[in-house]
Every structure is written in C-alpha cells, then in structure tokens.
Amino acid sequence: MVAAQPIIEVNHLDVRFGRQQVLRDINLTVSPGQALAIIGESGCGKTVLLKTIIGLIRPTKGHVTFDDKRVDRLSEQELANERTRFGFVFQNSALFDSMTVAENVLFPLRQHRASEQSSHEQEMLSRLTEVGLPRSVLGKRPAELSGGMRKRVGLARALVMHPEVLLYDEPTTGLDPIVSDVINELMIRTRSSYPVTSIIVTHDMKTAQKVADRVVMLYPLSRLEKDEPQLIFDGSPDDIEGSSDRRVSQFVRGEAGDRLMEMSDQKIVK
C-alpha cells in the first residue's frame, strides 16, 4: 500500500523573534484526513508552529509545504487564496468585536464568494446549527456571548468555507469541563462530517486523547541542550501514556515534579 502524500510538511523549521529562538529544527508531516494534536507546556512554541504553518509567521530557517507549495514562497495573493483552504479556530476566538455573530460567520463568504450572495445566509445558518447555536444569537455581538459560545461561533466561522485543513489553537482553554467536552465532541463530529485534516494545539491531554489520532509533543528550548530535538514524542494517543521519556510521562500525568524548584532557581539566577 502506498502511503498518502502528506498535505503539510514542516522541514527543518527554525523560528526566532529577535534574540529569542522559539522553534528549532522542527520536522513534521501531516497526512490528509489526519487529526494531529500538538501538545506541550505553555511557551514551548505550539501556537507559533501553528501560525507558521498558515504563513502568519515567517520562518527564520527551513520551510513549510502545503499541498506541494512552499508557503514562504507564495505571493501575497497566492497566500490569500491558499488560506481559504484553511480554517483557524483561535485561542480566544478572535471574533470581530464590531460585527454581530451573523456578520462574523458571513465574513469569509463575503470576502471570497461575493457573487453567490443568495446562498450565504443559508450557509451561515447551517454552520451555526451544526455547532449547536440558536438563531437568537445571530444579532448579538461577541462581547455578549459566553466563552463556550464564542468558541462555537469561531468554529462555525472556520467551517463556513468548507476548509481542507482545520487549525485549532487551544480550543478548550478557559472552558469548564462540560463545555470543553462539547467542543471536543464538535471537533469529532466535524471530522466525521467533512474530509478535513485537523491540527489541534492543546495542553489538555483529554482533548488530545479524545480527538486526535496522532500526538506530537514539543518541549521548550530553554530546557533543552543544544543538540537535543525539540519534538520529544511522536506517536498515537494510546502510546503516550506508556512513554518511557520522563518529560512526556510527567506532562501526561500533569506532575510538576521538581519544576517549582527549577523555576525558583531560574528566577534567582536572573
């Protein structure tokens, strides 16, 4: 059996902001239809990796390939066209404050399919129904919604263009366990309804294990030696539980270990 051609390839990726290096020599491939969870502690570069994949951040070295096209070599217009094949659910939803829920969900359609205006409203209503939002929220502003509702509007907005790749940035952060599970279920339902590739950045192990069929773990560069790889785990969600790497098992179990001591030491040294 011939393995499917990866839809996304990350090759020797380095990202640096001024003097601070965030990602170092990351290599990763994502197959079509796969649900990949990127886990790791706060500040390890998960979101930066996600934004580099969609071209919001330019790599310092290395490159990202999407559907055999190098993202960093695309012109502004080409990049804009390619981005319509992605849906991005942001950590804090990133809904436009000045627009209503309906306008937020309609925005990508109006931007790219201005000629088919008659079907826009139906499309928007379908997506909102899919994520379980009632019609009563249509005229509301994002500030009037709860965190869980905002996340669902963000998901509806990401789905409205029927993307091939869905990027989730911490989809369950800041939500209570029940609403988190609703979002997890929505992600699973989305995968079963559409032939979509999903990349989920999270530090919630429950989300990673429930939604993803592959998990990779990033480790903060500040805690690694110069030659150590930054991706310290790549496998199935079932394998991660039994990982022999102490750093992985510590993260999975949510144990601080000697971290508090180390943090205090770092502060004193600084």
């Binding site: 919001l56 991005f88 809904l95 436009f96 404050d97």
Partner: protein, 291 residues
C-alpha cells in the same frame, strides 16, 4: 557572592570604564539601528497601503463608516477650537496693533494666520488627538486579541481591509475639517474684534479681504492633505505594531499622537518653505505679505 549581588541590582555587569563606554556605544548603535529599522518598516507599510489603495478600493460601507467616525464626528471639536483660536489671536495681537494705531488691520493677521498656519495645524492636531489615538488603540486591540491574524487567516488582507479605509478617510476629510477650522477662526476673530474690541466692522472687513488671497486657501489645504496622510499612516502603523497587553495598547495610542504631532510640525516647516518657493516661482513680482 558579590558579583551576584551586583548583577541583581544593576541588571547589567560592570566592566570598568571601557566596558561601560563600549556598552554605551553599543546601546547608541542599537538605538540608531532600531530607528532605521522602524523607518524602513514604516516606509514599506506606507508603500503597501498606497499599492492596495490603487489596486482595490475599499467597500463603500467600510469607507463611509470610517469617514463618519473620522470626519463628521470631528467637526464639532474642530469648529469649537477654531473659533477660540481666532479669538485668542485677536486678544494677543490687539495690544501691539493698537500701539501703532493699526487695530483695523487685525483681520489681515488673523485671517492670514488661520488660512496658512493655524487652521491646518489645528485641524491636524485635533484629528491626531481624537482620531489617530483611537485608530491606534482600536487596531492595537485587534492585534492583541488576534483579530488581525484572524483576518489574514481568512485570506483577507489586513492592510487593504483595515488601513486603506482609515487612511483614505483621513486624506479625504482633513481638507474639509481644515476649511471648517479656518472659517470658524475667521468668524471667531472677527466677532471678538468687532463686538468685544469695538473695531469698525467695515474697516476690519475690507482690510481682512485685502490681505488674503486664493493662494492662502490652497496653501492651507495642501498642507492639510499631507498632515492627514501622516495621521492615517502613523496611527495605523502604531496600532499594527502594538505590544501585547493593556499597556501595549495604551502606549500605541500615546505614541501615535506624539509621533503624528512631531511629524506634522516638521512637515509644516518644510511645506511652508516649499510652498513659498513655489509662490515666488509662479508670481515672482508679487509681494509676499508678512514675508
């Protein structure tokens, strides 16, 4: 441990006189490089804004909403300050002019100053304070809350969608605001001179007319267009490059006003020199009043 304590308190190692000197030079170099980097970045930002403005005009509803915010809502404050500036000019000049028995000539000074200098600068200052800071804060908040990233991730161009309508509104509406500031200044100055200082209205009016030419109106309007472009670009740039957090947004708003104002004052000098040269080139025999 002594050295440890030094690090903790000074935040930087002390390496004697030469060490300190080299560090100062390095800091200065860093500051200069940073300045050039910002200037280059700003130039690219302005270039991309102009390119988007030429290639694709913003949607009518977005443009009109910005025009309303920037132009219509600024009218009352510009009119009010314009009136008071005209009256202040009258108060300040009256004593000197009266000493020479030239109080009927006050209209010339007030009108000339309003048309050429105070009208454009006042309207621009008001716009930078009322609109520029608000634009920087709004775009800064959008940056911090990832709304600008969201826009880009959906294949929309943030410069085309957010900057071009604001820039165009500043550019197109500042001449009207300047004319309003000038008009109200002229009315305020005339009102104060005639009704409070009891200067003869007929003399005041005829002298005022004699001193002001169409060129003066053109002079002020040309300046205002440059000022409007400065406010639009500097404020949007500051908003786009906002640092994270509430402090970052506050700082973007303040910096937008301060930088816009500094650039406006510098531009004012260069434009005044340039426009005077143009005047002299076109009408070499015409006497330039007050020059």
């Amino acid at each position: 441990m002594a050295s440890g304590t030094d690090y903790a308190y000074s935040g930087r190692p002390r390496r004697g006189l030469f060490g300190g000197l080299f560090e100062s030079i390095a800091d200065l170099g860093g500051f200069v490089l940073n300045g050039f980097e910002t200037l280059g970045d700003m130039t690219m930002f302005a270039w991309r804004t102009l390119m988007w403005m030429i290639t694709r005009l913003p949607r009518r509803e977005t443009l009109f909403a910005n025009m309303y915010q920037i132009g219509v809502l600024s009218l009352p404050v510009v009119a009010l300050t314009g009136t008071f500036i005209g009256m202040v000019l009258a108060v300040q000049s009256y004593t000197q002019f009266r000493a020479f028995g030239l109080e009927t000539q006050l209209g010339g000074v007030i009108n000339k100053s309003m048309f050429r200098e105070l009208g454009p600068v006042l309207a621009a200052t008001m716009l930078a304070g009322r609109v520029g800071s608000a634009m920087a804060a709004e775009l800064g908040t959008m940056r911090v809350t990832e709304q600008i990233d969201a826009l880009a991730s959906m294949g929309a161009n943030p410069i085309q969608y957010l900057v071009v309508p604001r820039f165009l509104s500043c550019l197109l509406l500042i001449p009207s605001l300047t004319i309003m500031a000038v008009f109200m200044g002229v009315v305020g100055g005339a009102g104060y001179c005639v009704f409070i200082l009891n200067i003869d209205m007929q003399h005041y009016t005829s002298n005022a007319r004699q001193f002001v030419e169409n060129w003066d109106l053109f002079y002020g309007v040309v300046k205002s267009v440059f000022f409007g472009a400065t406010i639009g670009l500097v404020s949007c740039y500051r908003g786009f490059h906002c640092e994270p957090g509430a402090e970052g947004v506050g700082s973007a708003a303040t910096t937008a006003f301060v930088q816009s104002f500094v650039v406006i004052i510098m531009l004012d000098l260069f434009l005044s020199i340039f426009l005077d040269e143009v005047y002299m080139a076109i009408w070499p025999t015409s006497p330039m009043l007050f020059s």
